[in-house]
Subunit: 325 residues, 4 copies
């Protein structure tokens, strides 16, 4: 009910209100949702939407991935433009800038239903997100970027964080849909700002994790007890998420990937991708990021040494293997 | 009373118990305390000890610094060896490795009173701290390293954190004395481990602060609102002490130096010194610290561009001044 | 005569021979040459082609720049597609990836004369160069990338180096034209390899210059005489182009920009652009470039501190201003 | 004869002239030479001096190493102070700062023969070299630092380069002795400047080698032919010793270690040591060395990954092993 009021109010805002949003309030939860990209992340996300009572219209280049969703009750499409024509919301979850751009070009080539709201949950360059928004808008539709954090477990358990870039009314409009897949839905600002927030946060995360690994490793080599030192750090000025809840040293944080051979978690490959995107936008915006660039190169080197599929905290393992001479 | 029990118990420990410690419990708070090095940190620390009821015996190469303490009731000495002869505890607060080493050589040249406990609160190489401990022990005395964090405000307000390296019984013994100058007295391990913990923590702090500055700057240049982005980071995986309580962007954390022109706080000069020490011990222990080394060079460059006396969070100011072309 | 033989021979090669090339040999030097982009580099390059006896057809978004060429005898066009229709060769000299791509899209939108050879002398991403080649080929034309080194003085004095990416026959075909603007015309490989060679070389140059600056600065601060040290380096394993002929320390290499306040030369802005492109292609090719990335960030920081228009060897000046404390 | 005149003239200089030098000219080549440190470098160096007709007085902590020299005709000593008493010149070739300092303390504890000239060919901190010079001078002797480059092959073949720090007359005095072990004897300036020159040059070398490796690797991954690209670099602004005569890519420079599995040459371990010393003196002289520090960390990481005994150009091998995803 509260949402309806907000949506009706925002109808008179400069940005207007989407029909998808309005109709949503009257028809409660059950919407027609298109989903493009049914991989490790997209698959469970789409499943969760079905569990929430939505009707799913899906597409994937892999027949197998699409087939799995069909078995769960989704309608499978050969063309994303057909899929979009049947959907109140379309969610895309794709691997990179180029594929996102091409998918939207194809999907919107013949125009879009003005009621449809497109949500891109891929992680891409904020500038590309802004171009996609313009493309969709030019066709008469609406678009927000809403990249996620939380990884495959977050996708499976519907505990993802969504970082949304769009107007206030668009944010309110997509919020209830996204809540079917995640726990925290954050409004980051206008178009592209969801991507920007994700990339900037992950750049800092990537830097901190290497910093914690270097500090822990140096402390241990100097003779400090790892647990004692991490306690000191965590009650002092060095504390950070990586030291407190995701410590890269085995035996410190029970739930961290460090305790299961750096399996699972957030892969080196994915943080390398995010830091590559961050480097690109830093270059295009003339922003110096000395530590971010160095972190990028370190994860890239890790990847080249065969650690790509390990959790990114494996950097500790990589650094610690120093021999004594 | 509790302390007395601990001290008496520790008397029977492998490491024994100091007479300074034993007598302390019987004579309550009033001890003879030698203090060597009465600068911006040492001066207020010594004053606080006097306020706690101790009798101070002081030395400084500056007659003026020593004179100030005399005016407050301290006895001034020309020779540290004489000072040590009158003291239950001797605290040293000196600028670098060489001065610490030479001071201890002179102070102990004619032997030391076996009851005296020496406490070095300077920030130096842990290896030097270990050598000083051996020197003092060879003369029959006891030594712990106990570097501080908290800066001049912590010294003035007796809210410093002390990181102590020594045996458990030595830690218990010096704790009540140090509580006259600080709020948190942490036992980090054996000799040198106080220094090691401080340097490793500060290396991580130095890395995190640059990371936060880069991430905030990039976010702002991409169009994110600084407050919105810092809120996102602080409830996400990028959060750290530097983002939460000491944000380098003006207007985010009310009490941070960023809001008063980067005055006060923890100077670029001091973090450069700490990172220089960290680099040195990383080299001597064959430990790779790519991010720590880079952070060291960045603060060193800042210093060379005239920011040495500013709070180290001025790195944000330095990075943000990018022009648009 | 020799060239004619080569061209005729290459007619029977797999790659074929261009009509532009064949007709060139019969009609000697005088060709119709289109020139798009008449800035600091393009302007003098076009002038030199006219001095070599060619007929110029020019375009620039700036009426003033185009007007200057008109005064020298060139024909000015409003549309690049019209210009291309009148030209045996079209040379483009443009600021970045996007402008190059858009220019070629417009210029070739209505098809191209199959006799026309397009030469892009801009510095851009090799992947974009390859895409432009495909675009031109699809329209029935031929394309080579031919970025330059040598800067504005090289453009003015017709002493540029051209790094050509294309087939052997295309290289031979464009060589005589390029010789009207430069001294060294190098064949680097297939399409995009001119760009790749330039960017990789300049990345190494950017690294070396900072390395020389750090080594000279450290040597001087340790007490070495700058001239003595540079002589030692130049007859030893540290020697490089930057130490031998372009030393960043004033008074060492007489002709270097260091001796005239770092004016002229190769600007910090331009090397930052080249290193940004190098970083981009390293990211897209999964190649670790730790030193290249760091060099990029250092020049970017220099630029942000107001040194963008100075020669890139000003990094020495930036580093040396260290104060003693 | 020319040397004698210089030496006699310099007798009246402020710095005086050594008897060792004067007598050298009268007694031609045969001198009593002490040699301390008979390892991989020192052993062949001492042998070459014997081959030149000198009488050798040797010491090593390893009986085996000393025994080998005895077999060649040297006199073996148990105490370096006894050795020094019999020698016109004493050459030390030792692993690090501490061992050099302790050796000179012991060797000069009972005073030194005023005729004896001490030459330290170890690679150490220039500040330590200056302290050793003061120690020797205080005992009435003379000292120069004369570190080498050229490695074990240079030591074996008497083709080393010596970088000498001392007065002009001391340089002339030691030159003929050093010529028995090397080809190039360079005067770098006053005490410690031999060490400073070596470390600064090697820092630049370490940077350049990584730069060449990154540029070659990126070029190859982009599709350039390695030979073509190295030819372009070597006739362009990226050229340096590492690209021209010691290329890290197999198949480019026939004599380079890259062609024999990176065996032999200049080990990663040794350049790591040199860069560690360079980092230390940069810290103590407040000199920013961003690229030098990064190069140091990269070689240190290489070492920690098991490449310590390989030639330092193995960095190319390390970087190139990137997988495609």
């Amino acid at each position: 009910m509260a949402l309806r009021v907000i949506c009706l109010m925002s109808r008179f805002n400069a940005m207007g209100v989407t029909t998808a949003c309005r109709s949503m309030s009257s028809k409660a939860n059950s919407k027609n949702i298109g989903f493009v990209g049914l991989g490790n992340m997209g698959g469970p996300m789409a499943s969760n939407l079905m569990k929430s009572g939505h009707k799913l219209h899906v597409f994937d280049v892999s027949k197998e991935a699409a087939g799995k969703m069909k078995a769960q009750g989704a309608t499978v499409y050969d063309k994303t433009s057909d899929l979009a024509g049947k959907s109140d919301f379309v969610i895309t979850m794709l691997p990179n800038n180029d594929i996102v751009w091409k998918t939207y070009e194809e999907m919107t080539a013949n125009g879009v239903n003005e009621n449809t709201v497109f949500i891109d949950s891929s992680t891409i360059d904020p500038n590309v997100a802004q171009q996609v928004q313009k493309l969709v808008k030019a066709k008469g539709g609406r678009f927000v970027d809403a990249p996620v954090s939380g990884g495959v477990p977050g996708a499976v358990n519907a505990t993802l964080t969504f970082m949304v870039g769009g107007t206030e009314s668009e944010y309110e409009c997509v919020k209830t849909i996204l809540e079917g897949m995640g726990k925290r839905i954050t409004h980051c600002g206008s178009y592209g700002m969801g991507q920007a927030a994700k990339l900037c946060n992950n750049m800092l995360l990537g830097i901190s994790m290497i910093g914690v690994s270097e500090a822990m490793n140096l402390a241990i080599r100097l003779g400090l007890d790892p647990k004692t030192f991490s306690d000191i750090v965590n009650s002092s000025t060095g504390r950070c998420w990586s030291s407190e809840v995701y410590n890269p040293v085995p035996g410190i944080t029970p739930t961290a990937p460090a305790n299961k051979g750096y399996a699972g978690g957030f892969s080196t490959e994915l943080i390398t991708k995010d830091l590559g995107l961050a480097s690109g936008i830093a270059t295009s915006s003339n922003t110096p990021i000395p530590m971010g660039a160095m972190a990028h190169q370190i994860y890239r080197t890790l990847k080249s040494r065969g650690y790509g599929s390990k959790d990114f905290s494996v950097i500790y393992e990589f650094l610690k293997n120093e021999k004594n001479n």
